[in-house]
Amino acid sequence: MKKDVNAENIEFLSSGLIAPIKKWGAKWSLWAVHLVTSCCGVELAHAYASGYDAERWGSLNFGMMRQTNLIIVEGTITKKMARALRITWEQMPDPKFVILIGACGIEGGLFWNSYHITRPWKIIPIDYFVPGCPPTPEGLISAIRALQKKIESGEAKTTAKFRETDLAKLLGTEVGKERKPPKPPLKIAEKPEIKIEPKEVEWEFGKKLIEELKNKMPFAEIFAIDINRIYIKTESKFYEKVAELLESEGFDHVKSLNVIDLPHENKFVVECSVSSYSVEELMPVIVTFSVEIPRDKPRIPSLIRFWPSIDYQEREMHDFFGVWFEGNPWMGNKFLLAPEVETPLRKDFKLEEPSYVLER
């Protein structure tokens, strides 16, 4: 941002002959549009409900940006949400103000080095920050009061004073030199594996069902892992065949689709759980079938022609792991993530390393 929009708004309000009226109107009518992205929204609800009642100061909680003049950004802004935030801000008529509440909005808070987070103050100009995780309703109300004072007097004043301390002395480091905190102890298993073993259970219908399935798919390894839970291990070339047979058996919907990353063995495990809504005996039964695919060439046929509801789950797995489901028409489009983020759930994805530099 090149222009200082905040200063422009204040300047507009405090110029001209009728400046007192303009300032009075803006001061007592800070209608808030709130952008709830995380838990701080609960605190905003408190602030406007009985008990705290921010409407006493003329601030009315409103749902739309065209007719209001204050945005309250509540918490984490992801890279996809950043676009919505910017659009909201640009659609609001001038003079407009922004209050940001929560630690996540300031430096990311809990999610500071997440693959998909951004800093709201890099996207829109912000008048007041309310730190806290989450901040109290009193904090939010005092920010609204501070904004009113800012509109009236024209200068921004902080409402809290913090004690100052000499970080260089405390940390024992020099100014301008980058320093990294010690790494947490990592325990690396030599050969991690997911053990899925048959279990002896008393389940008459299950035994019958497994026998039936075994007759139909002689190429697969089928066993019960618990009551009402059946596991099928097979090779990737039989993936579609298994799905087709299960669908004809009466399993009519997909519960979940998982991909497990095993970088040591250079493979992905694709796990699909199906169940039934239409056949009464199969309703409590969940059948999981898994195949292994090579990690450097992760391609597998899509099951969208058997179960259309698998569409979103395949797109999600494609976003997170880069697995290409052949036959799904939406492959290659980003579904959940911002365009610049690639395969964040692969185990070799590089996150931002913690480090700090003292500046003076």
């Binding site: 109107g25 803006a26 009985s50 409407e55 006493r56 065209r66 007719q67 659609q91 008529p93 003079p95």
Partner: protein, 382 residues
């Protein structure tokens, strides 16, 4: 020419003893000390006397002051504050307060109005620009024209035997303009909102008209002055309670009060037809529903509550009946906005179902009652 105009204005001027009579301070045996009347201050100045006479000319006074523009403004400012305050009190909150602590924040709508006045007006690229900016101003036509035919006691612009019919016909034009606003906004939520407005329009309008007609049949006249004269002993709400109930619910539907706040539902279609408006133009269109509420409440009090019947207050003169009508109207408006605090919102299909089945049946019962009582009235038994 000017003297002719002056004479015309003065012959038909509003008589308010408080400002047109002289105020006597004291009088002894042969001396009288008095303050001259305010209007006579300008009586000899050439142009000013014409302006003062014009202001107190009854048709002009009716449209501009009571029951016209100034009364609408006062009613809107009060009712918006009252709506927020009563909602807050029901929810165990204070509501608007700190802007003026000692009078309970009653100037809060003025602060909001000032803020709207100095906010940017955005005309988005897709809007049909001329219409988008014209329609909010055109809305004043169907809002102010009914004032010409709705009298407030002796203050009226046009005394016509068709006053109730003309007023309802003109008020029925307001939804047309809302639909036109939705079209001019050219946005999907505005489109959905104006579609809902059109649907609602069809479901309440017939009921509203039938309910009003049944009262007109009872009194044997559509002239508001005669209707109020007929009610000097029994108010219309006791004569035909079915018509009153049908008219009441139809008003709630027509002005999108809860539980029928469907076209503007801000949780669903974010203010519907008015979504794209900003700044002072939004201020104008937002008050549209309240203006319509004011007009319909005035009609309700004329048809059912005895209009301006009330104890005569001598110092106010012609303003006294206008004051009674205004108080009744404000009381009704307060009841309507109070619904916001405890009603949920109907779905569109539910509202349409009510409008076309139960409410229509109620209106039919009201019409039959009206026909019966009208026959009795014609025979002279009432």
């Amino acid at each position: 020419m000017l003297s002719y105009l002056l004479e015309m204005f003065r012959q038909n001027s509003v008589g308010i003893p408080l400002i047109t009579r002289k105020v006597v301070l004291y009088h002894t045996a042969n001396k009288i000390a008095y303050i001259p009347p305010l209007t006579s201050l300008f009586a000899k100045i050439p142009i000013l006397n014409l302006i003062v006479a014009l202001i107190f000319w009854k048709p002009f006074f009716a449209v501009l002051f009571a029951p016209g523009l100034v009364c609408i403004l006062i009613a809107i400012l009060f009712i918006i504050w009252f709506e927020r305050k009563v909602t807050a009190r029901v929810q165990w909150r204070y509501g608007p307060l700190e802007v003026s602590r000692n009078v309970g924040g009653i100037i809060q709508p003025m602060a909001d109005g000032m803020r709207y006045f100095f906010q940017e007006v955005i005309v988005h690229r897709e809007a049909h620009k001329p219409y988008f900016l014209q329609f909010p101003l055109i809305t004043f036509l169907p809002v102010l024209l009914p004032i010409l035919v709705i009298p407030a006691g002796t203050i009226y612009a046009i005394n016509t035997p068709y006053s109730i019919l003309v007023a309802i016909a003109l008020i029925s034009l307001i939804p047309m303009i809302i639909v036109a606003i939705g079209w001019a906004s050219n946005s999907k939520y505005a489109y959905v909102g104006s579609l809902r407005e059109a649907m609602m329009y069809f479901s309440y309008e017939i009921v509203l008209m039938i309910a009003a007609m049944s009262m007109v049949i009872i009194y044997g006249s559509a002239n508001a002055i005669e209707i109020v004269k007929e009610q000097s002993t029994i108010p219309g709400i006791l004569l035909n309670p079915f018509a009153a109930l049908a008219f009441f619910v139809a008003i709630a539907m027509a002005t999108s009060r809860f539980p029928f706040e469907i076209p503007e539902a801000d949780q669903e279609v974010v203010f519907g037809p008015f979504i794209e408006y900003t700044g002072i133009i939004f201020g104008v269109v937002m008050t549209l529903a309240y203006e319509k509420l004011y007009l319909l409440c005035m009609l309700f009090s004329i048809l059912f509550l005895g209009g301006w019947n009330g104890p005569f207050i001598p110092p106010l003169g012609d303003l006294s009946p206008a004051l009674w009508l205004f108080l009744k109207t404000i009381g009704l408006m307060m009841i309507f906005v109070f619904f916001r605090t405890f009603y949920a919102r109907y779905r569109l299909d539910q509202a349409l179902k009510i409008g076309w089945s139960k409410l229509m049946a109620l209106a039919m019962v009201a019409l039959i009652t009206g026909l019966g009582l009208g026959a009795v009235n014609v025979m002279g038994w009432l």
